[in-house]
Assembly symmetry: none
DNA sequence: AGATATTTTTAGACTAATCTAAAATTTAAT
DNA sequence: ATTAAATTTTAGATTAGTCTAAAAATATCT
């Protein structure tokens, strides 16, 4: 089991990398945890032995699969507790963060499974943020166009911007339907076209215009 | 705010003095907290500056009013969480202690007030132990579970904890009803079962689970 | 009362997490 | 391409909580 401090470091790194798209640097983590850069370096050096993340001196840090799993479960716990505090105890949505911050460190899988069920397996917390399931999967609520999906990210098709027949026929030919999984293999900076993988099988290229027309729910993990 | 460790020391001292009627000694605290006597001495010396208790070398320790208040609030929090885990999340009464042990350290008076209300201001936890109110007062039980009846003590059945059909049928078979007198003949330290005498006639053995489920009014002898 | 056993405390050391100040490295700018 | 600025790391210290082994105090038993 990880200590509370360790869990907070993992969560901070997760949040920073989620936002910044790239390694989390020492100063950002220090600011996030309200501690000194020296402390962070120290902690990263010791914690990196536990393989939650990759750490290279002066190069910042990014989570391993193990680290991402841990962070996702923490997010799940945090958001379930927030849902409990608002839905059951009648707190306002802006009063619950600090309490959930404490509750999320309580260690019991059984507790979280039962809490989830008690709340009716909610998909979103009181802030509208998605609650990961026990396996760590969750979809972003707001659908985004494929334009906003970055390299190596994945999403599920949920719709199109407009029902242009030609576009729908085009999608058909590519075997892209509602529910189809799409992964971004690479992005072309010149014309903003994207190389994509359809349902883990077919590989093709979509133009910027096509990407803009296609809505997906982003898959985390 | 006290650290989690500090809170655990206060609670241990409270429980020991509650039982032993007198100062809590070093060894007892060490055993209770599963730590060494040396660590306890060390902790007592440092903690006594915070005026939660009086400490004199070699003489043991007893709580001040401040310490008793703190301990009582911890007990309140612990028992409210246990009630939540059993009544709302469907845990068994014997599964909740370790989880409540973690939850009780979450720091928010507002949270506890709302939890209390949400549970319907319960007077007793799932083990039949009384829950102190926000001011630290709690009602003495006139009814206690058979668990708390010691060897050679006697009581009259006044109720059951929950109306589990199987349990009621079981009681029926043993000729145990409201008003039945029960005397404890012996206690088994291994599995906490008790040998009992029913209405001065029938002798049998009740498991810990059965004892916990059966409420009696203790007969003053 | 004196010897023995038990309990408690001290001494010294360890780990996790933190700090400040100084040194090293990377990034940005002229 | 140097220099300046920002970032990151090291060095050395601190605090809370813990440990073992040894010393000191108290309790127990003839």
């Amino acid at each position: 089991m990880a200590t509370e401090t360790e869990e907070n470091y993992i969560k901070a790194i997760f949040k920073i990398t989620e936002k910044n798209q790239g390694a989390a640097n020492t100063n950002a983590i220090a600011k996030h945890l309200n501690t000194s850069a020296a402390s962070v370096t120290d902690m990263l050096r010791r914690l990196s032995e536990k393989e939650y993340f990759h750490y290279e001196k002066y190069k910042g840090v990014y989570l391993t699969t193990k680290g991402i799993q841990m962070a996702t479960q923490l997010v799940r716990k945090h958001r379930l507790w927030e849902a409990f505090l608002v839905d059951k105890l009648g707190f306002q949505w802006d009063e619950v963060h600090d309490i959930a911050e404490q509750l999320e460190h309580v260690d019991s899988d059984e507790l979280i499974a039962r809490l989830d069920k008690f709340l009716g397996n909610p998909k979103y917390d009181p802030h509208g943020d998605p609650i990961p399931n026990a396996e760590g999967k969750f979809t972003l609520r707001s659908q985004i166009s494929l334009l906003n999906l970055k390299k190596s990210e994945e999403g599920t098709v949920v719709g199109v911007r407009n029902n242009d027949t030609l576009f729908l026929q085009y999608l058909n030919k590519l075997c892209i339907n509602l529910g189809t999984r799409i992964k971004i293999i690479s992005e072309n900076d010149f014309d903003h076209s994207k190389e994509i993988l359809i349902d883990g099988e077919i590989q093709t290229v979509l133009s910027q215009k096509a990407c803009n027309n296609l809505y997906v729910k982003k898959t985390i993990l």
